[in-house]
Point group: C2
Amino acid sequence: MELGTYLHDKRIIVENSLKDVFSSFKNTPGILRDAMEYMLFSNGKRIRPILAIAACEANKKPSDDLLPLACSIEMIHTYSLIHDDLPSIDNDDIRRGRPTCHKVFGDAVAILAGDALLTEAFRILSDNRYTENISPRTLKKIIFEIASAAGADGMVGGQVMDILYDGKEGTKNILNYIHLHKTTALIRASVRVGAIAGGSRASELKRFTKYAECIGLAFQIMDDILDAEGDEELVGKRLKKDTGKQTYIKHYGIVTSKIKLEQLIDEAIGSIESLGDRAKILSDLARYLGNRAT
Amino acid sequence: MELGTYLHDKRIIVENSLKDVFSSFKNTPGILRDAMEYMLFSNGKRIRPILAIAACEANKKPSDDLLPLACSIEMIHTYSLIHDDLPSIDNDDIRRGRPTCHKVFGDAVAILAGDALLTEAFRILSDNRYTENISPRTLKKIIFEIASAAGADGMVGGQVMDILYDGKEGTKNILNYIHLHKTTALIRASVRVGAIAGGSRASELKRFTKYAECIGLAFQIMDDILDAEGDEELVGKRLKKDTGKQTYIKHYGIVTSKIKLEQLIDEAIGSIESLGDRAKILSDLARYLGNRAT
């Protein structure tokens, strides 16, 4: 299948699954639900759930049972955007071409909407309505995978270092810590969750993991490049804001960053080559992520 | 056993278990770990984990395997305090007799420390290091119980209504929604998690649940009474701050609130009477919570 069609189809499937999940909120205050939905249904690329689905399908396993789990990852990603945009963190007022969550609902509701999205992600992962076809043992592995990637030794740790070293000299080691934790950790978990749900054995899981680590880092380098050179309208957020941040551009320059990006995409594709035809979508996805303009 | 001794002993056990959990953070940025620990080890009463332990032990089952799960509830409670105290939410500067988390570490780190505590709670619930003696099926139930209580239809929903109706007229229905969600939900989950881990059958679980709902509501009414009449030094936070909030005192007056509190404690004790001697600690705990000064 051509990647464009695949992305389009899967995006619709993910959106519908997210809507289905939201229909299970019965007693949620209206403004809280609105704030969660505002950010969750705001033209996101759905890269993480689609990676999970593609990794599952690369095992020749249908991804229907995985869908709510993939949605829970998207909810965690969304909460992290809401909190990152807050005035006391990155202070961003535009995201995906619209005012950020706190600009519309106020800081308090934005903080709580993020908290709710994060918590509800784990509710969905453990809710029989959505997970009855996945064994509790596999589910436990998946919850551990996601929580570890999103927590203090994962995404949140990366975000803390990101703000701590904003405006500071920094080192390549610091940059590496930030990129591996802030962005790569959850992308890595997305692919691994898909592979685990798809039934990958240890040796294959290793290949998927290597692939995910390469595209995760490439994704963040591309973000750094887009911040320096991208089109604000296409990207949908304010650019050239990261001048004080630890970026690849700052530590390696734009030319070397682009070379590193190419290398990572090649490495990602190489690491799943042995899967043969089964790897086609994932390989195409890697190339797409290395060339994206949004 | 006398309740004072029981509380003292269990508190030490919970503290040690929390310290053990924290030893598993290896790559966490120092300031993030410090902020999490600052609030987590700040002279909390540990009511929620102790309720879980007591409900488990009321089933004549040892609570060792439950301990890390009980700690995860305390971590969720702690994250909620950190976020509630933020300037854009309740704007509190003193908690448990010390400056609040954001006063010491800044708003950004406080938000992220809360996020990390919430996420790590679910990591612990799914981490084989801490949960290998609990069946994945039971664990799934427990994770669902905790996530549902803490999420959009639980604690976070209650908190949103609490700030939404701050300074507004409100109704008894609104007050009821806030108290049942903001405070009762997680206390209810604590007791239920303990009972589930202890192997309670459906009919007994119902009794534990009724008990928990009564003491949860009583706990919040006591909070309202302490805010109106308590000793700031003993309570460890600024009082008489809730004048604009939806409180029992506002809607029922102090005398009726105290009567309601007594009734709830009696109802809590009555609902577990059929357990006989096994209910002693839980009954004593209910009485203690209805008379606390801190």
